[in-house]
């Protein structure tokens, strides 16, 4: 169990969105603009790190049969904290993320890492795992967000990138565009994987 391996695996080899197919709901919903994508990525990373650390701390006292509800309560607590902090200090972001802020609770990445890693490993490695996976999630969200906002609106972070003659493909910021972009990126990463395996 090496330090760099546990940290960097979330970036590409075990990227939660593109490799593990976790956390797809928020990925599709908030990637219509880079601001939303980054905001969600940061919020989810915070919850992931905190819950990984706490769950790793209590992993030896939690009875195996009821561990899932206990993990859910821990995660829900941190999500409530993030929800209230965001509503107070970043109300515009809170409003545009809408119901997906409380829905961080059921983000499969967080419960998945708690079950698969934090429940069995030490606090330090759980912290690294949470940080790495969170950054991987953030990177995936940003990649899709940049693609969708650039093609669908001609902007990145609200800054127009092309001249006024650019006719954006509205489809990309609408729901079908989300599915299409994610599907094509998944296909692309599969293709890269197949090429490097040969």
């Amino acid at each position: 169990m090496s330090l760099t391996k546990e940290f960097f695996k979330g970036f590409y080899t075990e990227n939660p969105v593109f490799r593990l197919a976790l956390g797809l709901c928020p990925t599709l919903a908030v990637s219509n603009s880079v601001q939303n994508a980054v905001g969600m990525g940061v919020a989810a990373t915070f919850v992931l790190i905190c819950s990984n650390v706490i769950i790793s701390l209590i992993r030896n006292v939690v009875p195996k049969k009821i561990r899932i509800p206990i993990y859910i309560v821990v995660i829900a607590t941190f999500v409530t904290i993030v929800d209230l902090v965001m509503a107070a200090f970043a109300p515009d972001l809170h409003k545009s993320l809408g119901i997906f802020v409380p829905l961080i609770v059921v983000n499969c990445i967080i419960l998945g890492r708690a079950e698969a890693f934090a429940g069995k490993n030490s606090v330090f490695y759980s912290f690294l795992d949470g940080l790495g996976m969170g950054i991987g999630f953030l990177l995936a969200l940003t990649l899709i967000g940049v693609t969708r906002e650039l093609l669908g609106d001609g902007k990145i972070w609200g800054i127009p990138m092309f001249g006024s003659g650019f006719e954006p493909v509205l489809l990309f910021i609408l729901p079908p565009g989300a599915f299409l972009t994610l599907g094509l990126y998944l296909g692309l990463f599969n293709w890269i994987d197949n090429k490097t395996k040969k």
């Binding site: 197919a21 976790l22 797809l24 709901c25 928020p26 599709l28 919903a29 899932i68 509800p69 859910i72 309560v73 829900a76 607590t77 999500v79 409530t80 929800d83 209230l84 119901i99 409380p102 829905l103 609770v105 059921v106 983000n107 499969c108 419960l111 489809l171 609408l174 729901p175 079908p176 565009g177 989300a178 599915f179 299409l180 994610l182 599907g183 094509l184 998944l186 296909g187 692309l188 599969n190 293709w191 197949n194």
Partner: protein, 210 residues
């Protein structure tokens, strides 16, 4: 509330704001269970059942335990100066309710239909993390629905999810036999299919109702 309002909720939850194809809720089981039509139908009905029950129970909890209103049970029992505002507990309370309901549904299905239980496999307990269920309960809150409206919303959101799931399963069963490029096989082609279905459902957003 009139029947008209309820019908508007039904049509809008199933078609115009379809939970999977417009609201992006319930994607994980959507991709995971939609390979065969039979398991899709089974999963769909389980989700409808849990969504309806969850909408009912969370509305009651919201109105009698969390909201700062004169009918708040804590206010009635302990008589503080003013009704306590416990809305910040909604996330924790709702998800615990959903987790228990799913546990209950799992036991019922295991008793009544072991075949369905086996074919749903890991995806049955995963209904707990189905964003659609927590999503519909929070939406009921945001949209300020009454008790009956919440139940109708939960039920028809579940129907919309089931519809999208069965459509996807039907397409994917045929895709098994189609010549697809290697890197697109499996999840990528499912998402591209979903995108085309989503475009079709976008057509409903022009529906003028009410």
């Amino acid at each position: 509330m009139e029947l008209k309002t309820l019908m508007i909720i039904v049509v809008s939850s199933i078609f115009i704001n379809n939970f999977v194809l417009s609201r992006f809720l319930g994607i994980c089981p959507y991709i995971g269970v939609s390979k065969k039509i039979d398991s899709a139908i089974g999963m769909g009905f389980a989700v409808v059942f849990v969504m309806t029950l969850a909408s009912m129970v969370t509305w009651l909890i919201n109105n009698f335990l969390l909201k700062p209103s004169p009918s708040n049970l804590f206010y009635i029992l302990f008589s503080p100066k003013e009704p306590p505002d416990l809305m910040f507990l909604k996330t924790i309370a709702f998800i615990l309710v959903i987790a228990s309901l799913v546990q209950f549904v799992e036991m019922v299905i295991q008793k009544l239909s072991p075949g369905l239980y086996r074919s749903l496999g890991i995806y049955l307990p995963l209904i707990t993390t189905n964003c659609a269920i927590l999503g519909v309960t929070i939406l009921n809150l945001d949209l300020n629905y009454s008790f009956i409206e919440s139940i109708v919303h939960g039920f028809s959101a579940g129907l919309g999810f089931t519809l999208a799931l069965i459509l996807m399963a039907g397409i994917r069963e045929r895709l098994e036999l189609a010549p697809i490029p290697e890197s697109l096989k499996g999840i990528p082609i499912a998402f591209i299919m979903a995108s085309l279905m989503s475009i079709a459902f976008l057509g409903f957003s022009g529906l003028k109702i009410g």
